[in-house]
């Protein structure tokens, strides 16, 4: 019994990490239909910048704030320098541009920071909490809280604010959106800035658990992308559910089946889900007007 609880807590920890990564994909996808493969680099940069800020003697909240602002600025710059000039290019081309940006950011981070693995202590200490014979690290609670809060804010943003609706309108039909007075260029800049900020928040929350290095971005982007696909790309709730589900699934497979096949089992399940629900568990059905 305590084993099951331990596996679940472990799965929630990993799942919350995935969920935070997956949430980063939603805004840009909703604004442009582009899957931003540089999202993992935002996560890496958030973690690395915080680690270096703390190492330089800054208090943790200040280091975290600087990391978030710096990464957000980089997201806006990425849009201005690489995505905006290619406006009107097919979505696939834009996705390839984000892959190029990811490779560039990784190389730049290797030069700007260094090639070592970095970590800083958890925000609420490192002593494991005991729950009915199972253990969980306090930082895991931070990650779970971070994922939940990010989800809630995103959900409010898209369903309750005019700007959020403008983002959705831009994705749906950029021409019609600009005709009704939406500044689609500003919306794109905003969506890249917000996505980068969410990535940085994810990075600085998960680094005490996963650690970070200049080359961790690609793997992070892929696991976040898998979680987002499972839950339904573009849906904040889908990202949360997809991430948590994937994490718990992996932990249970590692615990009860075989740790060797844990990734295989979860990806087979993703394929099954996508075969029967191509939009993911909670994704919107796409309808074409004829």
């Amino acid at each position: 019994m305590s084993d099951l609880l331990q596996f679940l807590l472990s799965g929630l920890t990993v799942g919350a990490v995935y969920a935070l990564l997956a949430l980063g994909f939603t805004i840009i996808f909703n604004a442009s239909g582009v899957v931003n493969f540089a999202q993992g680099e935002f996560v890496m940069l958030g973690g690395m910048a915080t680690a270096f800020g703390i190492a330089a003697g800054l208090p943790v909240p200040l280091a975290a704030l600087l990391a978030i602002l710096g990464t957000a600025a980089l997201g806006v710059a990425l849009n201005a320098l690489a995505i905006a000039p290619a406006r009107g290019a097919p979505v696939v081309s834009l996705i390839i541009i984000t892959i190029g940006a990811a490779i560039f950011l990784q190389g730049a981070a290797g030069l700007l920071f260094d090639k070592q693995i970095h970590r800083y202590p958890g925000f609420s200490g490192e002593a494991a909490l005991r729950i009915l014979g199972a253990t969980i690290l306090p930082q895991s609670l931070w990650v779970i809280a971070g994922a939940t809060l990010t989800f809630a804010l995103l959900w409010l943003f898209f369903s309750r604010t005019l700007t959020g609706k403008a983002v959705l309108a831009t994705a749906n039909n950029p021409l019609a959106a600009s005709l009704v007075g939406i500044n689609t260029r500003a919306i794109m800049a905003l969506s890249f800035g917000l996505s980068a900020a969410i990535g940085a928040v994810a990075g600085l929350l998960v680094t005490p658990i996963t650690m970070t290095a200049y080359n961790t971005g690609v793997a992070l982007a892929l696991s976040g992308f898998a979680a987002a696909m499972l839950g339904g790309l573009g849906s904040p709730l889908g990202a949360l559910v997809g991430g948590l589900l994937l994490g718990v699934l992996e932990a249970l497979t590692a615990g009860y089946v075989s740790s060797q096949y844990k990734d295989a089992v979860s990806f087979i399940l993703i394929i099954l889900v996508l075969t029967f629900l191509p939009q993911g568990l909670l994704g919107r059905k796409s309808t074409d007007r004829v």
Partner: protein, 382 residues
């Protein structure tokens, strides 16, 4: 620029540059300074640059300066092959150092063997030199030796049943296989065999299963990078009290820092003399070599030395020693190869090298030292 002036300039340049350029001893290297193995290739490249500078400042080899031609292959075997060919055909080097990973080393080996140029690899895989290829040598220990060193210690402590949790990356997977191969010789049984992927954030389920396995007396974690540090944190999180063994893949201060000194306390692993430079006794053969390298590296780059930089140090030392013994500043590749194979009792940071026709690794188990982490630093177990 008028013609007479440029001619004069050309003549001066020729007079100044070419005699030295002709006499320089060119050493080639292709390393993974960037890419997935960047954390290994980076200190290797830094080490080669530093040492070549030092050697030249001290008068070079046989009175001639060394010239290092170094390419960054990013850990990609295709690039490594291209650069190795370029080193041989265009740069006309006397020997190649490199191959940060086993994959790139095998690519360079095929070029070196075809072109008959001596090649010293810095990668761990036993397949690089087993079976022996005439022109290929390597400096790091093999995974198999690490397993043997650890099992020796377990045997001495009466441990017979262990749990193993290995990374599925190249390093972890290879060492896991080598360990499974040599268990019988030491009467060790792997009662639980768990795996994790390189990017995993949490290994608690695997460790829970090892803890629940009947009769496990110790846990071994072959792995590289962040994985072993996460395993170590999870190990303490679960409150497992069994003896905990790590591999030489984490033999660096970074492992202790990432795991947290209190979590890494008591962990045992096979490491090199480089990690315990200050604790080596006065009569230890490696003391002088190891402290000199460490002081020079830390002094220049202001970052701790790693075992990987040490592999590059030893490769260059072997090469310089062989060129010196061969006695020619423009050595014939086959003669140089023979001189490398004749290396005997050369003290490096990794161990003492003695090559033979059937042994192009040149190290034995004594090169590994069984280290234990105590109070956030390494100490040699008696």
């Amino acid at each position: 620029m008028s013609t007479p002036k440029s001619l004069a300039l050309a003549a001066i340049l020729l007079a100044m540059g070419s005699p030295a350029a002709l006499a320089q001893i060119r050493i080639g290297a292709t390393l993974a300074e960037t890419g997935p193995a960047g954390a290994l290739g980076d200190p290797e490249a830094k080490t080669l640059r530093l040492l070549v500078e030092q050697i030249n400042a001290a008068g070079g080899v046989l009175g001639e300066p060394l010239e290092l031609v170094l390419y960054d292959d990013g850990g990609d075997p295709n690039n490594a092959r291209t650069y190795a060919t370029r080193l041989v055909e265009h740069d006309e080097v006397v020997a190649i150092i490199g191959g940060t990973t086993t994959g790139t080393s095998l690519a360079i080996r095929s070029v070196a063997e075809d072109e008959e140029i001596p090649f010293i690899s810095l990668a761990g895989g036993i397949e690089i030199i087993d079976p022996v290829h005439p022109f290929t040598f390597k400096t790091p220990h093999t995974d198999r030796m690490a397993c043997e060193k650890l099992f020796e210690d377990m045997q001495a402590q009466g441990i017979t049943r262990i749990g193993m949790i290995s990374g599925t990356d190249g390093f972890g997977a290879s060492m896991r296989n080598q360990c499974l191969d040599v268990t019988a010789g030491y009467g060790i049984e792997i009662a639980a065999d768990e795996r994790y992927a390189p990017g995993d954030a949490d290994m608690v389920p695997q460790l829970t299963n090892i803890r629940n396995t009947e009769g496990v007396q110790a846990v071994l974690n072959p792995g590289f990078g962040a994985g072993p540090a996460i395993v170590t944190r999870n190990y303490r999180q679960l409150g497992i009290e069994l003896p905990f063994y790590q591999s030489h893949g984490v033999a660096g201060q970074a492992y202790i820092d990432l795991s947290g000194a209190e979590n890494a306390e008591g962990v045992r692993l096979p490491g090199t003399a480089l990690l315990i430079a200050d604790q080596l006794t006065e009569d230890d053969a490696q003391r002088a070599v190891v402290t000199a390298y460490r002081d020079a590296y830390v002094g220049r780059y202001n970052e701790p030395v790693s075992t990987f930089g040490g592999y590059a140090h030893d490769a260059l030392a072997i090469l310089v020693d062989a060129i010196t013994r061969n006695g020619e500043a423009d050595p014939d590749p086959v003669d140089l190869r023979d001189a490398i194979e004749a290396t005997a009792g050369l003290v490096g940071t990794t161990g003492t090298y003695s090559f033979a026709a059937d042994d192009h690794l040149g190290l034995d188990l004594t090169a590994f030292r069984l280290l234990q982490i105590q109070g956030g630093t390494w100490s040699e177990t008696p």
